[in-house]
């Protein structure tokens, strides 16, 4: 269940010109739009460093509907400027029928441009997914419900939050303890922090997972389930994102609270993330290509013990 990738930087063509973000005019428009949406944060552009780790994030994507195709198309277009080589999937990857045809119509077809470009998808399972589909080769799960993989200084941990048995928890604790990468990123379906109106936080999962995350220095957690985008304020030093709107949207479902750092629930969205050294830059992008949230996170150069004692959740966010 642990895999080490060596590919990364040489697999895809790098931009030959100086790394760049979105044009200035568009940036101004986006900042104005952000103000209208109440996102609040100033847009942060990607360093687009040649040897950085670049990945996309999609959640609750597998409807097979036009909206999913639109968001996937936008993602493929974004790759022309930001050459991410992997996508993590936050569950509910296929809704409804789960057969081979559904896998084609609700996954392989919408993301064909990315798959053709060699982008690898790493799925976690949601409540709407058939556990049997963990053997689907294009999801790179190796037939496991939970697994980890790494590239450069980042290790990812894909969990099955639908059934968090003792075996999985022991595996997680052990894997985190033995992970020496600077960045530890966990992703799964049910959010342990969310202000989504339909589901909200899975507190039952939180009381079990959070102490493990804190003790072993997890930096960032991605989850789906609520069909919105939300960035939470850091909780005990960990950054939480909800990205459950890559195929389905629950318009206006965010019940903003003091833990909401940013949110977007008026259109579908996906995320792009870059990890360069101790810096992680992220953008949440709407189906229409608008950056609705962005920011930079620095890895905490702290031991797990120090992280555990940081109960106040002091922010190192560099917005």
């Amino acid at each position: 269940m642990r895999r080490d990738d060596e590919e990364s930087s040489t697999m895809y063509p790098r931009p030959t010109r100086r790394p760049r973000g979105i044009p200035v005019q568009l940036t101004i428009l986006l900042v104005l739009a952000s103000a209208v949406w109440g996102v609040g944060a100033q847009q942060v552009t990607f360093p687009n460093a040649p040897k950085s780790v670049k990945f996309g994030v999609i959640g609750d994507s597998g409807t097979g509907g036009q909206e999913q195709f639109d968001a996937a198309k936008e993602m493929a277009q974004a790759r022309a400027m930001f050459a991410f080589d992997r996508v993590i999937m936050l569950g509910d990857n296929i809704y409804g029928g789960q057969g081979p045809k559904d896998l084609v119509n609700k996954f392989a077809k919408p993301y064909k441009p990315l798959l053709d470009a060699g982008v690898k998808f790493y799925a976690s399972l949601g409540n709407h997914d058939d556990p049997a589909n963990r053997a689907y080769p294009l999801w790179n799960m190796g037939g496991e419900r939970y697994y980890s993989f790494s590239t450069q200084n980042v290790r990812f941990f894909a969990l099955d939050s639908s059934q968090l048995d003792d075996k999985q928890l022991a595996w997680l604790e052990d894997s985190l303890k033995n992970a020496h990468e600077e960045w530890k990123i966990c992703y799964f379906h049910h959010p342990i922090y969310s202000n989504g109106g339909r589901h909200g936080s899975s507190v039952d999962l939180r009381v079990v997972l959070e102490p493990i995350f804190v003790a072993h220095g997890v930096n960032v957690v991605f989850a789906g389930h609520d069909h919105i985008y939300e960035r939470l304020t850091p909780q005990k030093g960990i950054y939480y994102f909800v990205e459950g709107a890559s195929g389905q949207l629950r318009k206006g479902d965010t019940k903003r609270s003091s833990t909401t750092a940013a949110s977007f629930d008026s259109d579908l969205s996906f995320m792009l993330v870059e990890v360069a050294g101790d810096q992680m830059t992220f953008q949440a992008i709407s189906r229409k290509g608008q950056v609705v949230d962005s920011g930079t996170i620095r890895a905490h150069p702290r031991s797990p013990v120090a992280a555990a004692s940081d109960a106040a959740g002091a922010s190192t966010l560099g917005f």
Binding site: Q163, L164, R198, R206, V208
Partner: protein, 402 residues
């Protein structure tokens, strides 16, 4: 508890199959108020505490529930299933509703039909909802809360022959569910062999104790029970059933006083003394079982929350009626006074899963949001009780037919 729902051995022994028992407060039979039935009134308090706590201070509730899940669900609940087994063991004695297996044929058929019907509707419902992950909890709709059903059936049927039929149906349905649960998480051969060896040791020591005429229940409980618990636990079978194979070896009465009937003060056999001793421990365990397991978020009813009650309320009555009519068509004798309308009401009455469904859910599904959904569904099956009374009223069944 009304007199109408008490049984007497004399009444049952002389009556035809499934004929109503004669009520008596004297002789072997006491009032219908066993430890199990009394616990019925305690469990809802535990559930209420859990619901209130989980929906006001969820974090502290879940920390508490996680800490106590193992001691309550895998150790304490052993006593509850031991008392259930006591009822079944005594029912096989002269005067009991299970005495002579010929009586059990039709309820077994009905129970099988109910299990197939409820599981079938459950899986169908999940298919249409697009919730394949929940299929792992398919065994939950088998669960019937016998004590609740007994009370509801008493309200509907009084001393009707449908009552013992319903109780047998419920016992067999739970037995099927428990057997299925035992197969859900198979252990590897090494553990299985060790578990089997421990179980053999438990049974051998129970036989030895019985031969040496031990009249106290403690060695059965502590020696045989512990060996059996370890055997099941290591062998991958739910250890809550640890005392089920041990209880039949405890010295017990020679005649049955009736299901859920409180033993008289004269009864001093080991099994009866075990029941008396276990009164407060079982009350405490069932209260804690409610507290630990029934805390579910009320604000969001998910797919799994609906699937369980739909399966038991729709699937079980259909399965019970179909299987019973098929069995009768195949040659089994129809019970007098139990036609399709009564069968439909019986099926609806047995749709209440409550405590047993909560147990089945925790046994079938590891901790997580889907378990919470399923537990919510288990609680919602209580609606079946009201529906059964309503249906009986509409169909003029039991007391409503007079």
């Amino acid at each position: 508890m009304s007199d109408s729902s008490t049984h007497s051995a004399a009444g049952q022994a002389g009556a035809a199959l499934f004929s109503p028992p004669v009520t008596s407060r004297k002789g072997m039979a006491g009032r219908a108020s066993s430890v199990l039935l009394d616990s019925l009134f305690i469990l809802p308090f535990g559930c209420a505490v859990a619901l209130l706590w989980a929906n006001t201070l969820p974090e502290s509730y879940y920390i508490f529930a996680h800490a106590l899940a193992f001691p309550v669900n895998e150790i304490g609940i052993v006593l509850f299933f031991a008392l259930m087994t006591k009822q079944v063991v005594e029912a096989t004695l002269p005067g009991g509703v299970l005495h002579t297996w010929r009586r059990a044929a039709l309820p077994v058929a009905a129970a099988c039909g109910g299990v197939v019907g409820s599981i079938g509707v459950y899986l169908l419902f999940l298919y249409f909802l697009g919730e394949p992950m929940l299929r792992q909890t398919w065994v939950v709709p088998c669960a019937i809360d016998i004590a609740v059903c007994y009370l509801v059936a008493g309200v509907i049927f009084g001393r009707h022959p449908a009552l013992p039929f319903l109780l047998l149906l419920a016992i067999f349905s739970d037995a099927i569910g428990l057997a299925l649960i035992a197969t859900l998480h198979p252990a590897d051969p090494g553990h299985l062999a060790l578990g089997a060896a421990l179980m053999v040791a438990a049974l051998a020591s129970a036989v030895g104790l019985r031969r040496r005429r031990f009249t106290t229940f403690w060695p059965y409980l502590l020696v045989c029970g512990t060996l059996s618990w370890l055997g099941l636990y290591i062998g991958g079978v739910h250890p809550a059933l640890a005392l089920v194979p041990v209880v039949p070896f405890l010295p017990h009465a020679t005649r049955d006083a009736g299901l859920f009937v409180e033993p008289t003060p004269q009864a001093q056999d080991a099994l009866t003394r075990f029941e008396r001793w276990s009164k407060w421990p079982v009350h405490a365990v069932l209260f804690m079982f409610g507290v630990v397991n029934a805390g579910v978020p009320l604000f969001s009813l998910e797919a799994g929350s609906w699937a369980v009650p739909v399966a038991t309320i729709v699937g079980r009555p259909l399965g019970v009626v179909a299987a019973t009519e098929l069995a009768i068509a195949a040659g089994l004798k129809r019970i007098k006074g139990v036609g399709w309308r009564e069968l439909l009401v019986i099926g609806c009455t047995t749709s209440v899963g409550l405590a047993v469904a909560l147990f089945f859910a925790t046994a079938a599904m590891p901790f997580g949001p889907l378990l919470l959904e399923t537990k919510m569904g288990a609680l919602l099956t209580v609606a079946g009780a009201g529906l059964a009374i309503g249906l009986a009223s509409v169909l003029r069944v039991g007391r409503f037919g007079k």
